[in-house]
């Protein structure tokens, strides 16, 4: 169906990679003044479609109409000139440039041929004010948190989009407040008649903002529907091609009694996180909740020895231990899936197999190599167990879609058979199906007696699997919830209470 009010029409887009058919004759039509959600499992081809539309990839076939005229953006600069603004998944902005430079890269205001830095900074401040951000725009982007960087990326894309705005998982590292703000802006743009493409794995957000939904599966369009006519159940079925038994199990585990296996006293590091006490029992999932930048990641890094604690003691089974480096922690059977999988997780050029066996091999030492057969067995096992979508185990991991990379890193740690597994945002950027699988996996691991510490910004999810929840605020542990007090409401209350305490 191709009507004249389509602002962007892509027909029969094709794109192949060696060993993969990423897009197979995909049709996609975006109307003026609509928010169009593009959904699908990890690796379905969503990001690839976006990149083909904006010239980041050369498509193998198909045509693109913008405003009724055929266009062929050769590169992203071309697309920007055509009025298509894009926030790409993960690849965000340039950390070494200032905030203002990032916002105006390629279109800096000039006077007498020279960049008018003053004007640029002023306009950058004005632009960000719309997002309720008051930043020093002359500082390097790297000095701000991931969330702020994400908002800056959005601000840039919005400012660039005369006709079309494309957002590829923009909300993955935003919290509720920022998401609300983003949606306000999206609605305003929509009213102005822009077409907006929105990719996410958060279905609530889809129902909140999207007018229509297009679902991709294995590089093919499953269908395009009006949001109002599509139930959540049907949507999930469209995405994963089968019914999902239960999205998230509602039965929360009971509290675990007994002596703590791991116990940290007055543990902390100056400038990172204030000293805290933490106990973890066998078979327990300790959730960590807090706003962005509250110090959850920092806590995890200190527990794992990625940063050395400068105060306090750590004990395992009552015996003091030294956790001064990841190696030391791994020797105590710790595992850690970091939040930033691109820089701290995957080893991009190495194969999926090598990425999976890496931690196990590192623990065994270089003199005792894992035989190739054993490596293959491990890799195949986890590719199957976690349903990692990859052409084969020898594919470089950087070519996998984001969600599948996340699963491979999880597999890396499961292969070491850890006793304490620390997961930092394990479900970020993961599709509903995989999301449910990971939640299920967390529960299975807990039932097997493993101890877990899980950081997540999704309160529902935390509530579902945690036996206890630690709440953080401003780089300090401020509350601990257990038993019946584990509800999303209570968590929000705890954060707010701490807030009041801090304010008084």
């Amino acid at each position: 169906m191709q009507t004249s009010d389509n602002i962007l029409s892509a027909s029969r887009i094709e794109k192949g990679f060696p060993g993969t058919r990423a897009l197979d004759k995909v049709d996609f039509h975006l109307r003026r003044g609509e928010v169009h959600a593009l959904l699908g499992e990890n690796g379905a081809g969503k990001s690839t479609l976006i990149k083909c539309l904006t010239g980041a990839y050369r498509r193998d076939g198909g045509s693109i109409l913008l405003d009724g005229a055929e266009v062929d953006p050769r590169d992203t600069f071309d697309a920007q000139r055509l009025g298509i603004g894009t926030v790409y998944q993960e690849v965000n902005l340039l950390p070494n440039l200032t905030v203002a430079e990032n916002l105006f890269l390629g279109r800096q205001p000039r006077r007498f041929g020279m960049i008018d830095t003053k004007a640029m900074n002023r306009r950058a401040r004005e632009l960000l004010a719309e997002y309720e951000l008051e930043l020093d725009v002359t500082r390097d982007l790297a000095s701000y948190s991931v969330a702020i960087q994400q908002v800056v990326a959005i601000a840039r894309a919005v400012d660039l989009s005369g006709k079309v705005l494309i957002l590829d998982e923009p909300t993955a590292s935003l919290d509720a407040h920022e998401v609300a703000m983003l949606f306000r802006i999206v609605r305003r743009l929509k009213a102005r008649g822009l077409g907006i493409v929105f990719i996410t794995h958060f279905l609530e957000q889809v129902y909140e903002i999207a007018d229509r939904i297009t679902v991709l599966r294995n590089g093919q369009v499953v269908g395009t529907r009006d949001t109002a006519e599509l139930t959540r159940r049907d949507l999930i079925a469209m995405m994963i091609g089968r019914e999902l038994a239960a999205e998230i199990q509602s039965a929360r585990p009971d509290a675990v009694e007994g002596e703590p296996r791991y116990s940290f006293r007055n543990y902390g590091r100056r400038g990172h996180v204030a000293p805290f006490d933490l106990d973890v029992r066998a078979g327990e999932v300790v959730g960590m909740a807090g706003l962005l930048g509250s110090g959850r990641t920092e806590t995890a890094e200190i527990l794992f020895g990625a940063h050395r604690a400068d105060s306090g003691t750590a004990e395992i089974d009552g015996r003091p231990v030294n956790l001064s480096s990841p190696r030391a922690a791994i020797r105590r059977k710790f595992g850690f899936c970091p939040e930033d999988r691109k820089t701290a997780g995957i080893v991009g050029d190495l194969s999926v197999r090598e990425n999976i066996v890496l931690a196990l091999q590192a623990r065994r030492g270089w003199t005792r190599p894992i035989s190739r057969a054993e490596q293959n067995r491990l890799a195949d096992h986890y590719i199957r167990a976690l349903d990692i979508r990859t052409a084969d185990r020898e594919k470089p991991i950087k070519l996998l879609s984001g969600g599948n990379q996340q699963k491979a890193i999880l597999a890396r740690w499961l292969a070491t058979e850890p006793e304490l597994l620390i997961l930092d945002e394990p479900t970020r950027g993961i599709d509903v199906g995989a999301h449910a699988e990971i939640v299920r996996l967390i529960e299975t691991l807990r039932e097997k007696g493993m101890s877990l510490i899980v950081i997540s910004s999704e309160l529902e999810e935390l509530v579902a699997y945690s036996t206890r929840i630690v709440v953080l605020r401003d780089r300090a542990h401020v509350a601990e919830l257990s038993g019946d007090r584990i509800t999303a409401h209570q968590i929000v209350e705890a954060i707010a209470a701490a807030n009041e305490r801090g304010a008084s």
Binding site: A69, E70, V71, D72, L82, F304, A306, P326, R327, I330, F336, P338, T343, A344, G345, I346, V347, G348, D349, L350, E354, L358, A359, Q361, A362, R363, R364, G365, W366, T367, R368, P369, I370, R412
Partner: protein, 341 residues
């Protein structure tokens, strides 16, 4: 087994083709190039010369490959060669036994590697600059040992390393063959290879996975130092003297070139020692070919540059795409609407 051979062949194919092309080209200009004969119980001929003269660069390239795989670079190898040659010569002339001399010299090479490794891994200095320190100071140290003169020696054992032969092959060839196989085996039969590649691709992720990155980095530079030490001994033994002023001068560039011609990326990660050895042999084949060709020396550099560019272009990932791009007439692309407006 057959599949392993096939993987190796596909990996080494561009290098093998390049080498074959050069050998073919030189033997057209100089027909005696392929002649091999046995003289005094040893193979003799231009091809053997290439293997023999290439020994220092082959050895340096072996160490350099591993360093580059960790995303580093070692500019100091030429200077370390000079230091080690000087140490060997001064020890042997001051009456130490061959065994002591060799061990001490290798130890000095290892020490140089440890120094570089600590600068890179512990003090976190960028590899080019970290090793530049030893590149500059190292030659001074070597000259300090020999006091700027060529320190000649007459120890038959040491000289044998440079110009003796074993099983029909010159000793330097035997040494690099054995050493290369040894390093390749150790790296590939143990988990070192994978761990090194992991560190080179993503140091942070590797550290978080429990890889002992500092130790691995230091080990890479130590291997490079060791290789430079062996190369230094061979270079000194070859001319029966330690020439601190010129030994290994600019060889670091040849070694890096060899690694790149071998197809290992300067950005770290995947590496192949066999390919780097081939790369070094290719470079030596170019050098020897130039010498045999009889052109005036003014043209040496231009010929070398042209051949290197040619080889690299052949290897470049874009070459085939660029080639197909050129062969399709540009007129085929129809103007877009935007341009029409």
């Amino acid at each position: 087994m057959i599949s392993i051979v096939r993987t190796y062949l596909t990996r080494l194919l561009p290098q093998l083709i390049a080498l074959a092309t050069i050998v073919a080209a030189v033997s057209i200009v100089f027909p005696g190039f392929l002649n091999l004969e046995i003289q005094n119980g040893r193979l003799y001929g231009s091809l053997i010369d290439i293997l023999n003269r290439g020994a220092p660069v082959v050895l340096l390239a072996i160490g350099m490959t591993v360093v580059i795989a960790t995303k580093g670079i070692d500019l100091s190898v030429g200077a370390v060669m000079a230091i080690c040659g000087a140490v060997a010569a001064s020890l042997i002339t001051s009456g130490h036994s061959l065994g002591v001399t060799l061990l001490a010299t290798l130890a000095v090479g290892v020490l140089c590697g440890v120094w570089n490794g600590i600068l890179v891994a512990v003090l976190d200095i960028q590899p080019i600059i970290a090793t530049l320190v030893l590149m500059v100071a190292g030659r001074g140290i070597a000259q300090l040992i020999t006091e700027g003169a060529i320190l000649t020696f007459n120890d038959a054992g040491l000289i044998f390393i440079g110009s003796g032969s074993f099983a029909g092959l010159p000793m330097p060839v035997v040494i690099w063959l054995l050493f290369g196989v040894l390093v390749a085996l150790v790296v590939r039969r143990s988990a070192l290879g994978m761990l090194i590649e992991a560190v080179g691709v993503n140091r942070e992720a590797s550290t978080l996975s429990g890889v002992l990155t500092p130790v691995l980095l230091i080990a890479a530079y130590v291997l490079s130092g060791l290789c430079a030490a062996i190369a230094g001994i061979i270079a000194a033994a070859d001319i029966k003297g330690a020439d601190a002023n010129n030994a290994g001068l600019w060889l670091e560039l040849d070694a890096i070139l060899a690694v790149v011609v071998g197809g290992t990326s300067l950005l770290g990660g995947r590496f192949s020692i066999a390919a780097s050895v081939l790369g070094a042999i290719i470079i030596q084949a170019i050098n020897t070919g130039i010498l045999l060709s009889g052109f005036p020396p003014e043209f040496n550099l231009i010929i070398k540059a042209a051949i290197i560019v040619f080889i690299l272009v052949l290897q470049s990932p874009r070459f085939r795409t660029a080639f197909t791009f050129l062969s399709i007439p540009r007129a085929a692309g129809k103007p877009t609407e935007r341009e029409a407006k």
